[in-house]
């Protein structure tokens, strides 16, 4: 993380959530953070709940009995969907950070061209792939026996 001491986050919470005039990638950034925070909260609870297997079958069955029901199934599906999005969007962020899929540097000659158009196909591909994974998860969670 860069030191932000001399560059205060003037927009505060709105700066995290609002995309302003920025493109769809800016909202992917917001969704990446929200899914990351949700996954972290779930993961800390998941460590505690699943540790019950260390005490044997009765403790495990009791722990699992406490997290059954339609609300928990829906919650787990949301966790799966958050993982699917966060994972494939994370791969996109790594590719972009390494300078891939954003086009080659060009001379700044008028009319100026933005690299957003170069990386937009990757963002669309990420959303399609995440959508396919969510659909596969939905089939498994709610339709298949």
């Amino acid at each position: 993380m860069l030191d932000t001491k001399n560059h205060p986050n003037r927009l505060g919470l709105w700066g995290w959530l609002g995309g302003g005039r920025w493109g769809v990638e800016r909202y992917l950034y917001t969704l990446h953070r929200l899914t990351g925070l949700g996954l972290l909260a779930y993961f800390l609870l998941h460590i505690i709940v699943t540790s019950s297997r260390a005490w044997g079958s009765e403790a495990w069955e009791a722990a699992m009995a406490r997290v059954t029901g339609s609300i928990f199934v829906l919650g787990e599906f949301l966790v799966f969907a958050a993982f699917a999005f966060h994972a494939v969007n994370g791969v996109r962020l790594v590719l972009v950070e390494l300078g891939w899929a954003i086009g080659k540097p060009i001379e700044p000659v008028y009319p100026y061209r933005t690299s957003v158009h170069e990386q937009r196909p990757l963002a669309i591909g990420v959303m399609v792939l995440a959508g396919l994974l969510v659909v596969a998860g939905g089939l498994d969670f709610f339709l298949l026996p």
Binding site: R33, L44, S51, A54, F80, A87, V94, E97, G137, L144
Partner: protein
Amino acid sequence: MRDQRLWTWHVLAGLVILVFLGLHMAIMHLDALLGIFNPAGDHPIAWENVVARAKLGFFTFSYIVLLGAALFHGLYGLRNILFELNPGAGLRKGLNAALTAVGVVMFAFGAWAAWAASALARTL
């Protein structure tokens, strides 16, 4: 420099999570489609399946690696978000200490649970 190094670890941890959590999600939540590593059939969280996986050293290894990678990735990500609000130096130190403590305690507890479950499964 320190933050640059931590950011590199953050990205590398993300790639480790992609592999091991991807496998975990496929086993636990795409079971009807894929049906892998659930030898007893039934639901992936059935005790027989839990024991069968715990007997395999690979799963104990992958759980502990995933535990460490996910805790670091998640807590460092949370730290970055919180630091964007420009907390004072004292609060930064406190946040660093608190998040590190949460990570160390949860890793120790989760790693112990994975190891203990593996040891228990091998006696069954």
